[in-house]
Symmetry: C2
Subunit: 396 residues, 2 copies
């Protein structure tokens, strides 16, 4: 365990934020979580709930303290509010800020004009408030920004870790590798990369941009301590990631719905590895003025491969066969494409990847089975389409 650091986790109520907060607290760090419960509001808006609805932060940090004796500070606040954030910089004096505080869904950002505008305003303004709170109140603080592998899209060549060279220039001179995202949400992540890059170069901000692949998993050592410490696991079409959705479909006995051909290929990682990556980034901050970009995933799968892994794991567990159903792809994306991406930086810092093996899948199936009667199957099939009109037809 490294030196104890002070860390703010923005978006600390979320699927990743809350397990990150507990993980860092358990490793001896002084953690403050901030959340405005935006995602809980959006869940009501779109009609979707996590498998279990966790208590609010003030209650959860109390349970955390009961179980571990460790204190996590909880602040119910909107991270878009610069003055609130500036005050927190002075009060909490963080060495690092982990920034998860965004509208986190691609499909949500493609529902219609209002959702797109909201995603743009909310996500950019939160990042901008954070940039300025750090610049003006805590300029040495390390911003750990959650980006996404989705920024790169599927360019058809090996995706480097953020940067590329241009021919004829010295080795040290690097440029952002071109980005072409598949949803407005992912495009907003590109905009935030551009914004952070500018303030690193011009105002000496210190940033790690973690280009994360889709995360799967439901448990960590910390979530397992108490039922009210579980994280908000989504299986719905708007907030659920693909493997979490397939696991849920297998458990409740509906077909695993593959969008289109299923050759869509991405880099994935386990929730536990995601937390470890954050810790590794935090413990080795970049220099002042540096924008460090790392690709955060461990294994590459196509959607078809994921579906088949779940079918196999369900069969191993129950002897029953889960069905796979290919449905019309609601998104506009290549369904057969080249996909390779570098991802050595986090392993060089010490990440030991968790494989998506039978045990991991069986653990997820077991955990979802416990709450299987809570699943609302009407939330699983895609309700938002990219191409043929809008999710909210009254606006089209």
């Amino acid at each position: 365990m490294g030196e104890s650091m002070r860390v703010l986790v923005l978006g600390g109520d979320g699927y990743l934020g809350w397990p990150t907060a507990m993980y860092l607290s358990a490793r001896g760090h002084d953690v403050t979580v901030v959340d405005n419960y935006l995602k809980r509001e959006l869940e009501v808006q779109v009609g979707a709930k996590p498998l279990v609805v966790p208590p609010r932060l003030l209650e959860r940090v109390g349970i955390w303290q009961e179980m571990t004796g460790l204190f996590i500070r909880a602040v119910e606040n909107d991270a878009k509010n610069f003055w609130g954030l500036a005050g927190l910089m002075e009060a909490a004096e963080p060495d690092a800020v982990v920034h998860f505080a965004e509208q986190p869904s691609g499909p949500y950002s493609m529902m219609g004009r209002e959702e797109a505008q909201f995603t743009l305003t909310n996500n950019l303004n939160t990042t901008m408030a954070l940039i300025w709170a750090v610049l003006l109140r805590r300029p040495d603080c390390h911003i750990i920004k959650l980006g996404t592998m989705g920024e790169y899209g599927t360019p058809g060549v090996l995706i480097p870790e953020g940067w590329m060279r241009l021919p004829g220039l010295p080795i040290g001179k690097k440029f952002l590798f071109p980005r072409e995202a598949g949803s407005l949400y992912h495009t907003c992540k590109i905009l935030e990369t551009d914004l952070l890059h500018f303030y690193c170069r011009h105002q000496d901000l210190r940033v790690t941009d973690l280009m994360q692949g889709p995360v799967y998993g439901i448990s960590t050592n910390e979530t397992e301590l108490h039922s009210d410490l579980r994280t908000s696991f989504h299986y719905d079409d708007v907030f659920g990631t693909v493997l979490n959705r397939f696991i849920t479909q297998a458990v409740v006995g509906v077909p695993l719905t593959v969008y289109g051909g299923g050759g869509q290929t991405r880099g994935y990682l386990n929730l536990r590895d995601s937390l470890r990556c954050i810790e590794l980034a935090m413990e080795s901050p970049p220099d002042q003025g540096e924008m460090r970009i790392m690709n955060q995933f461990t294994e590459i799968f196509s959607v078809n491969q994921l579906a088949e892994l779940v079918v196999q794991a369900w069969s191993d567990r129950t002897g029953q066969r889960a069905e796979i159903q290919h449905i019309k792809n609601p998104r506009r994306e290549d369904e057969e494409h080249f996909y390779e991406a570098e991802h050595t930086a986090l392993e060089a810092l010490g990440l030991e990847p968790t494989s998506l093996d039978g045990d991991v899948l069986d653990g997820m199936l077991a955990e979802v089975t416990k709450a299987g009667d809570q699943v609302n199957t009407s939330w699983i099939l895609p309700r938002v389409t990219w191409r043929d009109g809008w999710g909210r037809p009254e606006l089209s």
Copy 2:
């Protein structure tokens, strides 16, 4: 003259917007100008006025009609307001929208947090409102977006017209050339490029992104028709472009202030050429779903070269020697660097470049001399610095 088209000019009160509106009207197009007079408010905020303050739009279009018999529709409205813009799409049925409606100053965007946040919100939300008004109300409409050569920065290699290839991919597959801007304003233009690119690829928007260099000039055939049809020529540190500032300094007998070494090199163009470029883009729209990027400048100069050209022209005109003074560079930028950029697309469409020759400079000197007693020299020296603290020290 081509076929008459219906065109909206957003930001029609500005230095470029108003001459563009008259130019297109004079060429037989049906023009509607939209402006919320934001820049006039910002002028008060920073303490800076144009050389002559033009009447508001409703008065100007009346004078235009008196002088030419031609009608320009004027709408005093905020282009960030989606519903207003959507209504205009239905009322004016534009074939093209020329989008100048932004906070247009690099130095303003670097004054402090509030100005940076304002620039981000204002410029991105205006572009977003336009994107959606077109998508939902007028999907065939061609968006002509004013970008800036400043998006590219000074990469040290030949700058292409927006796009690059990646090795190993088919010729047709192109990616955005990397962008590294020198101010937050210019970075917002990058963000808008990313946003437009997304909606072209995913919702079949039709966009021309004009990467314009700094514009110089004060007169066009149309502004010369009446003193109240002149455009808002800025010579101040916040809104004035460099050559316009040097011309004004020569006229009022203060030294031409070069920021730092003066080796900063960019592509420039004459105001008259800028209008012609808009017209050329409008008359040859890209395909639906296409993002066309063209570099809009005609000649490359260093700041030192511009200063020497003005010294020479002033000497030719008056026999007097204008002084050049190198002052500490308020910006964070390379002062000696390689600079070459492609700019053949607009010439291929028919642009015949105006050279920055003695006649052009003499014409500008003559025009500024007429209003020379209006110049406030306290507005010329840089009041905003990039690096050593903020323009608004109370926030630092």
